[in-house]
Each structure stands twice: as structure tokens, then as C-alpha cells.
Symmetry: C2
Subunit: 232 residues, 2 copies
């Protein structure tokens, strides 16, 4: 059992519903509707490092993160990984991909992760019956799209230093000032190399923006305000 990397678990109905409530796309649903939704949903655990799905897999399940962190990324032709987002509690794993035939990104558990999942068919039917959810999904992807547009502008127009600062800023406003990330993971997120990331981080450390205690897969941001309107 110990080696099993993915397994279904039991969770009280109330916990499932509470988990779903974390997800803003369901904000407009009544208690009744949430209860219905809860019955369609199965909790699943993926242990650290497991792939939840891979790019190109047929899109079979809708997922909401109940607990843990999941990395969402693509791998380039030359084998580099680019991380697009790190999903935490209450976030969906590409809710929009279910509207296409296959997933267009890969997802991997960064820690042991509990997810709530639902078959694609049921999900599509559910969304079709709840326009409010559909509209929230649109708003959500619009945000994502904008973020990617900004990332492209950043990569093309700005220097690595600024890009890394933006990434840190995004991550810090989502997860707080203390980030559990290796330099490698941050590099993937910013679309650069580990070495360059390290060099920039030391620079930022000198300027006092990030803390010196940053070691072994941890980065601590001491001055978020400075970080956010940083301009080299």
C-alpha cells in the first residue's frame, strides 16, 4: 500500500463540500446545489512527485485541489520545463481543458496532495446547467490568459532580473513571504536557468529584498513592498 502512488480515499460529505467552497467558481451556488455537486466528487490522493495528468492525455477528470501543491507546466522540445502556475487549495487544475479533448499541460504533485475529482461528462453537464459557474470559469481563464500575456511581454521586453522579481511577487502574494521552492523550480517558473536565478537572488539578497535565511528549498521575502515596485 505504501508504494501506491495514487489512491482513492474517503472523506465526509461536509469536508468535500467545504473543499469545493474554497473554489471561487462555485461562489454563486446554493447550499442545495453544492450538496449535489459534492456527491459527484471523489477525493483522491497523489503522493509527491506523481503526475496527475500529462500533456496530451485525454481530458478525463475535473480536479479541485483540496490540500497540497500542484505544479502546472509544459515541457519544451529540448526538454526544458516551463511552470505556468502552482495550484494550491481551492484551485482547479485547468478547468477549461475539459472543454477540449485533451489536456494541454502536465500536472505533478509537489507535495502529497489531496484532490477532489469528477468525471468529465458530469462536469460538462453540470456547467451546462449552471451558467453562473460557466461565467466564473470564463472570468478565471481570462485572468490566466492575461497573466500569460504579461509573461510573454516580460520575457520579450524585460530582463531576467525583472522577470524573476515579478515571479516572486506573484508567488508571494499567493503563498505568503515564505516560499518552499528550490532555485530550480523558481527558474522553471521564470523561464531561466538555475544559475542565473541564483545570481539574481544573491543580488536581491544584497539589496535586502529577500532574506539571507533563504536556504535548502526555501526563499524568504523580507520586503514585499520593495519587491512589488522594484525597477532595478
Amino acid at each position: 500500500l505504501k508504494d501506491l502512488r495514487t489512491y482513492v480515499i474517503n472523506l465526509r460529505e461536509s469536508s468535500k463540500i467545504e473543499g469545493l467552497r474554497q473554489c471561487p467558481i462555485f461562489d454563486d451556488l446554493s447550499a442545495e446545489e453544492m450538496k449535489d455537486l459534492g456527491t459527484c466528487v471523489t477525493p483522491v490522493i497523489f503522493s509527491k512527485g506523481t503526475f496527475i495528468f500529462k500533456e496530451g492525455d485525454p481530458s478525463a477528470f475535473f480536479y479541485v485541489v483540496y490540500d497540497g501543491l500542484v505544479q502546472v507546466f509544459k515541457t519544451s522540445g529540448s526538454g526544458k520545463n516551463v511552470t505556468f502556475t502552482i495550484a494550491g487549495r481551492g484551485e482547479t487544475l485547468m478547468a477549461s481543458a475539459l472543454f477540449l479533448d485533451s489536456y494541454f499541460v502536465s500536472t505533478q504533485a509537489m507535495s502529497d496532495v489531496t484532490l477532489l475529482r469528477m468525471g468529465r461528462k458530469e462536469w460538462l453537464v453540470f456547467v451546462g446547467r449552471h451558467p453562473s459557474v460557466a461565467m466564473k470559469i470564463i472570468a478565471l481563464i481570462a485572468h490566466r490568459l492575461n497573466r500569460e500575456y504579461e509573461r510573454v511581454v516580460d520575457i520579450v521586453g524585460e530582463e531576467v532580473e525583472l522577470r524573476l522579481v515579478h515571479c516572486l511577487s506573484i508567488l508571494a502574494s499567493k503563498f505568503g513571504p515564505s516560499l518552499s521552492l528550490t532555485r530550480q523550480e523558481l527558474a522553471n517558473f521564470a523561464g531561466t536557468t538555475t544559475e542565473t536565478t541564483i545570481r539574481v537572488l544573491s543580488k536581491l539578497k544584497k539589496k535586502g529584498v529577500i532574506s539571507c535565511s533563504a536556504s535548502r528549498g526555501e526563499i524568504v521575502i523580507s520586503d514585499l513592498a520593495t519587491l512589488q515596485n522594484y525597477s532595478m
Copy 2:
């Protein structure tokens, strides 16, 4: 009247509906529903070079391109433009932005352009009443999002040459082998400079992938197949 850069025109109801029909998000609507939609829509002309809306403007209108080409882009802090897409007949101009408070990209007429537009409020009500449209929109943005993800992977992981080839490939499969673009416009699309674009194009010309007749704001792709599985 000649100097007026934006003006409302009249169009027969049947033409409006025909224009809307070009847009795949309305595929599932009945003739009746299309007729209703048609009455909510106003045709507007923007002359070449005019901005239809700018990044940050409150999102006031939903637009479908009836005729002409529209550039969708963002401008970086350092003043560079990055083009995300070139919208032609039947395409929406960021249908998803209407679900946020403001536009997150700018749009500019690349030629004289006729658009069909509809107030934001009516649009949101309409989508709320037609789940099929909402779901098509989700699928559409999912595609867009995927394309941006791919673009990021390209920029980070591949060389300019390959990136330009991808851009040409995308444009050619959309607009045919003969593209009316200046090198500058292509450069913005690929996220590089005019000079680099030119150098790559001459290289491709030597290899016979694009035609020599490519001059004065025109690029002719002679061998799309080779282009599509090009690998330097």
C-alpha cells in the same frame, strides 16, 4: 466626414446575421436566436490605424470582426509591442475580457475594418441565457491559453528561427500562404526585432521555404509543409 475615424453604419439585418454566423461560438444557436442577437448588434467602421480599445479601458463592448484585420497586442514597459493575435472575419476581440472590468490588451485596425458590436450588459445577459455560447467561449479561450503557453515555451526554450517559423506557420494556416505583413509586424508577433526577422527570412528564402517575391509588406510562403515540420 472623411476624417472621421470611427463611425456607425447601416447594414441589412441579414448581413449582420451572416456576419455573426462566421463566429463559431454561435454555431449552436437557432435561426430565431440569431435573429434576436442580430438586433442587439451595431455595425461600426474603424479606419486603418485606429485603436478600437486600449489596454486598461473599461470593457464596454463585445466585438466580432465583420471585415478587415485587427491587431491584438500589449505594450511593454520599455515601449515594445507584442502582438498576440491578428483577428479576421468571424473572430471576436477578446470576448472573455467582457467578464472582467477592463480590457487587458489593446486592439488596432490594421486595415479599414468593419465590426459588429454589442453593449457589455446585453452581452453578459445573452451569454447567461445561452450556456452553449458560454461553453464555446470557454473552449475558445482554452485554445488561446494553450497557444500562449506554447509561445512561452517557444520563447524560453527555442531559438528565434524556430519561433519565427512557428509564427509563420500559424499565420499561414489562418490566412493562407500570402501574408500582408511588414517585417516589423512579424517581428512583434514573434517577439523579436525587425533586423533579426529579416536575417531569418533571408535564411528561409535561401532554403526555399518562403518565396523571393516577398517584398513591401508581403511575405509569401512557398512551401507550407516544409515550414510546418521545420527543424533548423
